[in-house]
């Protein structure tokens, strides 16, 4: 397998993706909502209208399950400050799982199943490029932008949160901290890889981009479960949780990538699902 050939596929797919607004739109707007719009609402609405009692009740169970050192950190804070602190540092974390999984599945759907839609697969498969080179090139074009978008989203999120914290907590900067850095650099790449692995398997069995996208939406379900579990106080975003996620996603990746590589054969791509 030649890396130059994989990079050739990567550059070709990247040129296509960068000119496809249907693919770019969700990759730009979803992170924008999670990293800027929602945090801004969280930060500024309580200061404008005051923290409603209901919102404090909402995070009540989560607050109960916070580690003692966090409880100690918010002990002297008022309701508004507590909400901003807890939401910014804990509640929003699972959204950073949605960004890489959404981006990688959109990109992988376009790269793998999209070639079926556009009827370009046959001529690509007629070239001497090997299966491994095609798979690596297409995985790279799904992985690299998703992870860059995730890291960029984290940088923007840090700016927004720190802007609020400087104003609310007397110049204190909340992010980045060690927990979030471990989470962003340790967990999100594994999540992006899992999204790609599942989408590769799905793409082998579907007719085109839309079908692949619809089926890949199932990837969001475990993330939503995490969010609800966190709000319900069943789990808390902490070091143990992050290490657990690294372990689980490493295992999931090993399985889905093994299955994806095993079944990624040119003939399967062309003849199945079509």
């Amino acid at each position: 397998m030649r890396l130059a050939n994989a990079l050739l596929v990567f550059r070709k797919d990247w040129k296509e993706i960068s000119r496809n607004y249907q693919v770019l739109a969700p990759i730009i707007f979803v992170p924008l909502v999670f990293t800027t719009i929602l945090p801004l609402i969280l930060v500024f609405v309580p200061s404008l209208v005051g923290a409603p009692g209901a919102s404090f009740q909402l995070v009540g169970p989560m607050f109960e399950s916070l580690p003692p050192e966090v409880k100690a950190a918010v002990a002297g804070m008022g309701a508004e400050e507590t909400i901003v602190y807890v939401f910014a540092l804990y509640f929003f974390a699972p959204f950073f799982l949605i960004i890489p999984i959404m981006a990688s599945s959109v990109l992988a759907s376009d790269s793998f199943a999209g070639e079926k839609d556009r009827k370009t697969l046959e001529t690509l498969l007629a070239t001497p490029l090997q299966d491994g080179e095609l798979l690596l090139g297409k995985m790279l074009v799904s992985f690299v932008p998703s992870i860059l978008v995730t890291f960029a989203s984290f940088a923007v999120y840090c700016l927004v949160v720190d802007l609020a914290s400087v104003l609310r907590f007397g110049g204190k900067i909340l992010l980045p901290n060690a927990l979030w850095l471990l989470f962003i650099f340790g967990v999100t790449p594994l999540v992006a890889l899992a999204g790609i692995g599942v989408t590769v398997i799905i793409s082998l069995r579907v007719k085109g981009y839309r079908e692949a996208q619809q089926m890949s939406a199932i990837l969001i379900a475990p993330i939503l479960a995490l969010i609800f579990a966190e709000v319900g106080g069943a789990i808390i975003f902490g070091p143990l949780m992050i290490l657990l996620m690294i372990g689980v996603f490493t295992l999931v990746n090993a399985i889905v990538l093994f299955l994806g590589i095993k079944h990624f054969q040119r003939e399967e791509l062309l003849t199945r699902g079509g």
């Binding site: 070709k12 009827k119 046959e122 690509l124 090997q130």
Partner: protein
């Protein structure tokens, strides 16, 4: 030397047999036309020979390289133009050709540039080289797809409906290119087509494929005389033609004579040989000949006869 050899090539998709024990041989420099109705197995045959899909059974070699044992080597030496243009529509014409040049192993940027320019100029696309392919007409896409198929200068070409969607001028350009590639550059070309007039003009050999099997193959003229039957010569006379039946009956090469008003319709296997003798006999018996027209059976007639015969 045989450039393409297929022996008992078979492709099954579950219980459906798309290609059934197809055997063919195409010599180097020949243009072989694969004719057949939709769903007959033409595209599947091309896909197998181009190593895009593997056969269920049987074997084939392209310039001696086995399609099962050495698929990468075979892919490198064949150019494929698929049924749809299969171009990256968000890329420009130049970007499409450059990608495929590199994918086929051309590494020298200078060579890629010069080959790209040569092909875009030949197909009259140079002025549009920086435009995205999505903005191209169907004919322009078809021309670019053929340019892509020959970007790496392959010795063997598989063209699936190469003149489909083209205007007469562009069709002629493609036909002339195919003839040039085969006769002057000794490239072997396998064409799948519905356009029998194209096959008749450019193919050295044609094969008719039906329900996955190659039913008959040979030179176009051989097929049309073998299957569609004899040629006819129509002699138009001044006055009644029935007076001259006896003049031509029994002439060498004549197998039958009919009359239609002032026209004598003569059946013959070889109109070039028999027509001068027929005219001489009629004139010697006092006939006034107004015109003489030979009617050769077309490849289309041969094709339809086989297809209808197979359908029962």
């Amino acid at each position: 030397m045989e450039a393409i050899v297929a022996h008992d090539l078979t492709k099954k998709f579950n219980s459906f047999t798309a290609v059934d024990r197809l055997s063919l041989e195409v010599r180097e420099g020949e243009v072989f036309g694969l004719l057949g109705p939709n769903g007959a197995g033409k595209t599947t045959t091309i896909r197998m020979l181009a190593c895009i899909i593997s056969p269920t059974s049987g074997s084939a070699q392209i310039h001696g390289k086995d399609i099962i044992g050495e698929p990468a080597a075979v892919r490198g030496m064949v150019g494929v133009q698929t049924e749809s243009p299969s171009l990256y529509e968000r890329l420009t014409a130049t970007e499409n050709l450059e990608f495929f040049a590199k994918a086929y192993g051309i590494r020298d940027p200078g060579e890629i540039r010069s080959r790209t320019r040569e092909l875009l100029e030949f197909f009259d696309l140079w002025e549009r080289r920086c435009e995205r392919v999505a903005a191209f007409s169907k004919g322009m896409k078809q021309k670019l797809a053929i340019a892509r198929a020959i970007i790496h200068d392959p010795p063997v070409l598989f063209l699936d409906e190469p003149t489909s969607g083209l205007d007469p001028e562009s069709s002629k350009l493609i036909r002339d290119l195919i003839v040039k590639l085969s006769r002057m550059e000794r490239r072997t070309i396998l064409i799948s087509t519905h356009r029998l007039e194209d096959a008749e003009r450019i193919c050295n050999k044609v094969g008719i494929i039906l329900r996955g099997g190659l039913k008959v193959s040979g030179a176009p003229e051989e097929l049309r005389s073998r299957i569609a039957g004899e040629a006819k010569v129509e002699v138009r006379l001044l006055g009644s033609a029935s007076d001259y039946i006896r003049s031509v009956e029994g002439a060498p090469g004549v197998s039958g004579v009919d009359v239609n008003g002032s026209n004598l319709i003569i059946s013959t296997w070889d109109p070039a040989l028999t027509t001068p003798d027929i005219v001489r006999r009629v004139v010697e018996d006092g006939g006034k000949v107004l015109s003489v027209r030979p009617f050769l059976p077309s490849l289309e007639e041969a094709y339809l006869k086989i297809v209808e015969g197979m359908r029962g």
